[in-house]
């Protein structure tokens, strides 16, 4: 009876039944899609939604994404944020109807955008108000706080802008890094204090970046769901960096320093964007005092980056690389920010920065907890608390110099 069992070759019947199972499975996948299709079809054809039509004009939403001022006048990029299409009928500039051209022409549908070109003789250094009047008489207002020509890509401007970016981004980080030899000699508890200080400064940057991101997000078209976008982008960036960083255990040393530099770099990108935009739109004058303020503000960042390096003795190139990673984005930010840019992209960049900063807060915090556990101390000792508060306080105080 216990003869050889033939190799388990599937019988033709079995194959057929397997295939039919696959087909059946596919059908089961198709079923919900079919149901969705039917439901949509019925909704469209039966038109019973018109029972909700109150006969009132639709609520239109229009956001202004970019403003360009040049010799030909004022140019606005607008985007329809609501679900209702918008027909732009007229434009008032400073309470006067003005001729304009729209590109592309016609009604603007959900999320579509257009450029409005207005041959208006704007006045250097003064304020203008552009009011877009839609078909229904709804108005959308864009204030141009201080009229200055929008810079265009000019090779001549790139270098001074890069210098400025380096001065507010890279130089202070390098100066902060000069504390490295001192940090190496403060001992274990001193180092923990410096790391607590680092967390403090990161907390400040986290809150600051988040605030900036939310503020920008609020100016974007409704369909982008600005705040949701910011939070989700931050969470994804946080989780992605955390998982990347922990593939080989919690990061320490150079790895930790790199992640700190990355988070700070993303924050500096946002800072650069803000500086660039502020100068480009004339809302701030570039003063020596202001630049010095930024430099001072960012010195703390250099200390934060090198703090985890204390146990190691990395080559000088590592320091240079970290400084570039943390400060370099300020240059890119100023370049991009000096052009008029769409707020949703900046909000997104800042949100990713928020996630990156949160990741390093978690990692530095975890490092401190491990260090405290090893010597059976509580991680939130009075010294640590002082370091934390000092870090936040220094950043807050120096930021007073630079809020443009």
């Amino acid at each position: 009876m216990n003869g050889e069992i033939p190799p388990a070759a599937p019988s033709p019947a079995e194959t057929a039944s397997g295939r039919s199972r696959t087909i059946a499975n596919l059908l089961w996948f198709a079923l919900p899609l079919l149901a969705l299709l039917l439901a949509s079809g019925w909704l469209v054809t039966s038109d019973w939604l018109k029972a909700f039509d109150a006969g009132a004009p639709p609520v239109e939403k229009l956001t202004f994404e970019r403003v360009v001022l040049n010799r030909d006048g004022i140019h606005l990029k607008v985007r329809v944020g609501g679900s209702e299409p918008v027909s732009i009928a007229q434009i008032q500039v400073d309470e006067a109807y003005w001729t304009f051209t729209q590109e592309p022409t016609g009604q603007l549908n959900h999320l579509s955008s257009a450029w409005l070109h207005i041959p208006y003789p704007w006045v250097l250094g003064e304020k203008h108000e552009v009011k877009v009047v839609s078909r229904t008489g709804a108005t959308f207002t864009k204030e141009i706080e201080v009229a200055v020509a929008t810079p265009t890509v000019q090779i001549g401007q790139l270098v001074p802008q890069a210098m400025l970016g380096a001065f507010v981004g890279i130089v202070p980080v390098l100066i902060g890094m000069l504390f490295y030899p001192a940090i190496r000699n403060v001992g274990r508890r001193g180092l923990d204090f410096v790391l607590a200080l680092t967390i403090g400064l990161l907390v400040y940057l986290l809150v600051d970046s988040f605030k900036e991101a939310i503020e920008l997000a609020l100016t974007t078209a409704a369909a982008f769901q600005g705040i949701v976008m910011v939070v989700i982008a931050a969470v994804i960036a946080f989780l992605a960096l955390l998982s990347v960083g922990r593939r080989h255990g919690a990061p320490t040393g150079i790895a930790l320093a790199t992640y700190i530099a990355l988070g700070i770099g993303l924050h500096n990108l946002g800072e650069g964007l803000a500086i660039g935009a502020a100068f480009a739109t004339g809302v701030a004058g570039l003063g020596t005092f202001l630049v010095l303020g930024f430099t001072l503000h960012n010195v703390t960042e250099g200390i934060g980056i090198v703090a985890p390096l204390a146990p190691a003795r990395p080559p000088i190139a590592v320091f240079a690389g970290l400084a570039l990673l943390a400060g370099g984005p300020a240059i890119v930010g100023i370049w991009l920010g000096s052009f008029s840019y769409a707020p949703q992209w900046t909000a997104l960049a800042l949100a990713i920065g928020v996630g990156a900063i949160l990741q390093v807060i978690v990692e530095v915090g975890a490092y401190l907890m491990r260090s405290a556990a090893r010597s059976s101390r509580t991680w939130l000792s009075p010294a640590m608390l002082v370091g934390l508060v000092l870090g936040i306080g220094v950043m807050y105080a120096t930021a007073m110099l630079v809020k443009v």
Binding site: Q90, A96, T136, T150, A240, G253, L273, R313, L348, A349
Partner: protein, 369 residues
């Protein structure tokens, strides 16, 4: 120590992190640059104006569809509603007007539509014209969605005042206002339903002109005859009715549109033909809501002004600007006998009103048959 460095910080790890950074940067960089041009750090001083128009680029674009609106601001200048006349037993003339209220969407500046409340489907309502001393009967029906009335600026009894409790008409209802045509002058009527502000700015108003009866004014009979519609003397005069109005399209208590006879910039695009040899008489009424005053300024000329039109001699002589508060009105008289032919501007001398549509042109010509 150097041993753990590559382990903890692999190239891929750094790359993945940097990619996130780069992503944001690239997104920000992707937005298109359209206006690249060299040395544009200066403001525009050389913008050419469009088409050589007197208003350059400062004008609403496009044209309003008068046919769709059902009224033409130009035609309304001279479109008098004289009603129907019959005789009362005592021999007096009885003049009957028919007015109805109706909701209507009107185009007030090209492409912008306003949900108006109207008399007889037009804004301003018909320019009613009667003669001093006549018995007037105004049959008013309300086809609108809200209660409305007709409140005349004139002399009448309390019952005929067209206010809540006296001549207010519910939707679907009807009321007949009756009173004698006094005093002669340039008057107006408007809805007096509450809230008053909304009923007025939604479009419920019109001119109400009572011509003087020459027989009652022997001392200035020629002047009275010139004012009385239809006389040979009156036919020599180029008469226009202009109702200065405004529209708050976004309901924020501030007008987006100013005009005479509703359509912004209409008379800039369609100048009013004037025979320079003949007298011009303008019945000017201000119904502008939200702003305390409106005004009229004539370029390159002066006029005589009859405040409320209730006198036969000017109340102001030789002026080129007058102002009116809401419901104030008057008659302007001027001519261009020695002017060269050409375009002569007229507009509110609140620049804001002018730039938001209340301006126009007289096209003064040698003779118009």
């Amino acid at each position: 120590m150097p041993n753990w460095v590559p382990k903890t910080l692999s190239r891929r790890g750094v790359l993945s992190g940097s990619l996130l950074t780069a992503g944001g940067t690239i997104l920000a960089a992707l937005t298109p640059r359209k206006h690249a041009a060299a040395d544009i750090y200066e403001p525009p001083t050389q913008i050419r104006s469009a088409g050589g128009s007197a208003h350059g680029n400062m004008i609403a674009v496009g044209e309003v569809d008068n046919a769709r609106n059902g009224f033409d601001p130009g035609a309304m200048l001279t479109d008098w509603e004289t009603g129907t006349v019959s005789r009362l037993p005592d021999g007096r003339a009885l003049r009957t007007f028919e007015l109805f209220a109706v909701d209507k969407e009107i185009e007030i500046v090209p492409g912008v539509f306003f949900a108006a409340w109207t008399y007889n489907g037009r804004v301003p309502g018909p320019a009613l014209r009667a003669t001093e001393g006549e018995r007037l009967r105004i049959v008013f029906r309300n086809h609108g969605s809200h209660p409305h009335s007709v409140h005349f600026h004139g002399i009448h009894s309390a019952r005929m005042d067209g206010i809540p409790g006296a001549g207010m008409v519910e939707p679907g209802g009807e009321f007949v206002y009756e009173f004698d045509a006094f005093p002669f002058g340039c008057h107006l009527y408007h809805c007096h339903a509450l809230p008053l502000k909304r009923h007025i700015h939604k479009g419920m108003y019109g001119a109400f002109i009572i011509d003087p009866d020459p027989g009652r004014h022997p001392e200035s009979e020629p002047v009275a005859r010139s004012r009385l519609l239809g006389t040979p003397e009156n036919k020599q005069v180029q008469e226009f009715v202009m109702v200065m109005n405004g529209f708050d399209t976004d309901f924020d208590g501030d007008n987006e549109v100013y005009a005479v006879n509703t359509v912004a910039h209409h008379f800039s695009k369609h100048p009013i033909k004037i025979d320079r040899a003949r007298l011009v008489r303008i019945y000017l009424v201000n119904v502008t809501e939200f702003d305390p005053i409106n005004s009229f300024h004539l370029h390159a000329n002066f006029f005589d002004y009859y405040d409320h039109g209730t006198t036969l001699t000017p109340t102001l002589k030789t002026v080129d600007t007058i102002m009116q508060c809401q419901a104030q009105r008057g008659i302007l008289e001027f001519s261009f006998p020695t002017h060269e032919a050409g375009l002569y501007m007229f507009h509110a001398h609140q620049s804001e009103f002018a730039e938001l549509g209340w301006m126009g042109l007289f096209d003064v010509v040698e003779a118009t048959s």
